[in-house]
């Protein structure tokens, strides 16, 4: 599914290296988590994969189902099956949530050569999915993320994910700013989407989210590299001892 090989990235303006050789493979149907201290490059990894401006790839590759992501426009990556749930979903006043989502769904379908959904078909699909995430009709009508609470914004991200049906989902600190109930709701939404042909890369600071979304593999990132990978027990270790032990152990090796 997703293959990142020796990825080196620096900030375009400052020439400051952020990723220093990230190598990571997420097979189809698996859930991988990336944990790591602040500034280790977790969010940068997600932005570079999704195609945000401002980063220069100096070395390495990233492919999705064999296609070179790094050469594609952000919208083409989305159409190819990549989805990034933002840590800070963007507010867009004056553009209705439904209008936005329908535009996105149909743009992706069009670029894949699939017929666009009619207004009726779209409405039917979104109603069912919104209900699962406890998103009411009023929230769908409101402008994108405007006046939404932190929890509503994150639920809206998951709704977009459910509607767009990507194959590779990246969640960038989706748990930040969520209370326990909201986190459970979001996790349930993610779990409902798990399938043998859909993979997840979950970026988080805390093990708590991983109690709800059980990962197959946990990666520890530090200073722009994956320094250790393991099973879910690695997240427990971080939760109990922090990163210091792991980083020291890696440094000694």
């Amino acid at each position: 599914m997703l293959q990142i090989n020796n990825l080196h990235v620096e900030l375009e303006d400052e020439g400051k290296p952020i990723l220093k050789g990230v190598t990571l493979t997420v097979p189809a149907g698996e859930v991988h988590a990336i944990m790591g201290p602040n500034g280790s490059g977790k969010s940068t990894t997600s932005y570079v994969l999704a195609g945000r401006d401002g980063y220069a790839v100096t070395e390495g590759t990233a492919t999705l189902n064999g296609r070179n992501l790094l050469e594609m426009e952000p919208e083409a990556r989305a159409a190819a099956g990549l989805f990034l749930a933002f840590q800070y979903p963007v507010e867009i006043p004056g553009v209705g949530n439904m209008t936005f989502l329908r535009t996105a769904v149909n743009a992706q379908r069009k670029s894949r050569g699939e017929p666009e959904l009619t207004a009726g078909e779209f409405l039917k699909a979104i109603r069912a999915k919104a209900a699962d995430l406890q998103i009411d009709a009023e929230m769908l009508k409101r402008p994108v993320n405007v006046g939404f609470s932190g929890g509503e914004k994150k639920r809206n991200e998951i709704l977009q994910m459910a509607m767009l049906e990507p194959t590779m989902c990246i969640l960038d600190e989706t748990d930040s700013g969520l209370d326990v109930d909201a986190m459970r709701l979001v996790a349930d939404g993610v779990n409902a989407l798990r399938s043998p042909d859909r993979s997840f890369l979950v970026i988080t600071h805390y093990q708590r989210l991983l109690d709800h979304i059980r990962p197959d593999v946990v990666h520890i990132m530090a200073d722009g590299r994956i320094v250790k990978s393991g099973g879910p027990e690695l997240a427990m270790e971080v939760e109990q001892n922090g990163y210091a032990d792991i980083l020291a152990e890696v440094a000694d090796a």
Partner: protein
């Protein structure tokens, strides 16, 4: 009967030198004003006294008056291929059509409607004793102090036609002024006079293609409790030299809400002079404009005077500029002594889609009362790259994402249109224009 003013203007005032008089050249032959003749003669003498604007005048620093002062407009070919889907055609409304600035009875609807009496100016002024004789030019003249507005006086002096509307009750449907043009060089001067009795309500729509050059003026006199909603949308896709004026006098408890959409065009200035004379007046004036190309220059000049208690005014202007277009905003809130509990608000914002475009804003507050709330703001910015990335990351192609973000930017101005149907029509028109532009089709 020859009007003495007409004779006067045909004679150059600079005597003995044989120099051409630019004002005489600009005015040409004046129409017979009938009952409005005295007001026209007065406007002409006022105009002579103030002279045409010069680039160094305080309120003409940012907008070159030359295209408006030129004796004749540059010819703008009528492009029959330029499609113009009717804007308000699905609404039940009363249409008044002006072709090259003259009333076209054949193309217009029957002008009778309950609660409203409507006549073209050309007919009203020919009726001895018609009330328009006393009203014509009055609010325009009042609006000349403290800032001279020569082109408004020129309009009063030389208007060839317009519509005269007396609203006595609640108009059963909107009145639409629809401009059409037939000639390449039509130089249009229309003067509309609206009088709303106490508690009367009218929605006025204004759209179409005015001419190669237009000088349009509305005088609106609102009695206590009257409501006027005005939505104007000037046609896209044509180089156009255009001046519009709105002069309104608002008695106690009256409401005026005016919105103008302007797309393309060449050299445009839109002036609003609102006199909130009574108590508890609500006056909102808003505009959205989209300009593409270095020939586009669009100026909104607004002067709101709070004269009564508890007045609420809003000025909301949004300009989207690309490929070297220029936007100008000059907005004033004047709060007179004693106009306590005034709530005045003003915002002007420009979205610059490239570095070649520019926005010039001059907000002014002048306050002589001590218990008021006034705020103003002005911003100039580029597209929000984070929002653009957010939309694209969902699969929305860049061009479409830009359209959505531009619509998002102007949404606050559109929100000033109270009638949802009208707001939707204007929003659709905007989106069509943006989409056509984004896909490379000239709008």
């Amino acid at each position: 009967m020859p009007d003495s003013a007409v004779l006067d203007i045909m004679t150059p005032t600079v005597e003995g030198q044989g120099a051409p008089d630019p004002l005489a050249a600009r005015l040409g032959a004046l129409p017979d004003g009938g009952v409005t003749a005295p007001a026209r003669a007065d406007a002409l003498s006022r105009l002579r006294a103030m002279g045409l604007p010069r680039p160094r005048d305080e309120y003409w620093r940012y907008t070159d008056p030359a295209p408006f002062t030129a004796a004749t407009p540059a010819a703008q070919p009528v492009d029959p291929a330029a499609g113009d889907p009717p804007l308000f055609s699905d609404l039940d409304r009363l249409r008044i059509v002006f072709v090259d600035g003259r009333f076209d009875a054949q193309a217009s609807d029957d002008l009778s409607m309950s609660g409203v009496s409507i006549l073209p100016l050309s007919q009203a002024q020919a009726q001895p004793g018609h009330w328009v004789g006393a009203a014509y030019g009055q609010l325009e003249q009042a609006g000349q102090t403290p800032v001279a507005r020569p082109f408004a006086a020129l309009n009063t002096a030389s208007a060839t036609d317009g519509v005269v509307v007396h609203v006595t009750g609640r108009a059963e449907k909107p009145v639409q002024i629809l401009y059409r043009r037939s000639g390449d060089a039509a130089d249009v001067v229309c003067h509309h006079v609206l009088r709303l009795d106490a508690g009367a309500e009218l929605t006025l729509l204004e759209n179409g293609l005015v001419g190669a050059r237009g000088n349009l003026l509305i005088e609106a006199d609102l009695a206590p409790g009257a409501q006027l909603h005005h939505v104007a949308a000037l046609r896209a896709g044509n180089p156009r030299v255009s001046l519009t004026h709105l002069f309104a006098r608002l008695a106690s408890g009256s409401t005026l809400k005016s919105f103008t959409l302007s797309v393309d065009g060449a050299h445009m200035r839109s002036e609003a002079v609102l006199d909130m004379a009574g108590d508890d007046v609500v006056a909102h004036v808003a505009g959205a404009m989209l300009g593409d190309g270095s020939q586009v220059h669009h100026d909104d000049t607004v002067w709101v005077t709070h004269g009564g208690l508890r007045g609420e005014s809003r000025q909301v202007f949004k300009k989207v500029l690309k490929n070297g277009a220029t936007g100008v905003f000059q907005g004033k809130i004047l709060v007179r002594p004693g106009a306590q509990k005034t709530d005045g608000y003003q915002i002007s914002q420009a979205l610059l889609l490239d570095e070649a475009s520019q926005f010039l804003a001059k907000p002014e507050l002048e306050i002589y009362a001590d218990d008021v709330k006034c705020s103003h703001g002005s911003t100039t910015g580029a597209l929000d790259e984070t929002a653009l990335f957010y939309l694209r990351s969902r699969g929305v192609p860049r061009e479409r994402a830009v359209v959505l973000l531009v619509l998002s930017f102007v949404a606050d101005a559109l929100a000033e249109i109270e009638d949802e149907r009208l707001r939707d029509r204007i929003g659709e028109r905007l989106e069509d224009w943006l989409t056509a532009r984004a896909s490379g089709v000239a709008g």
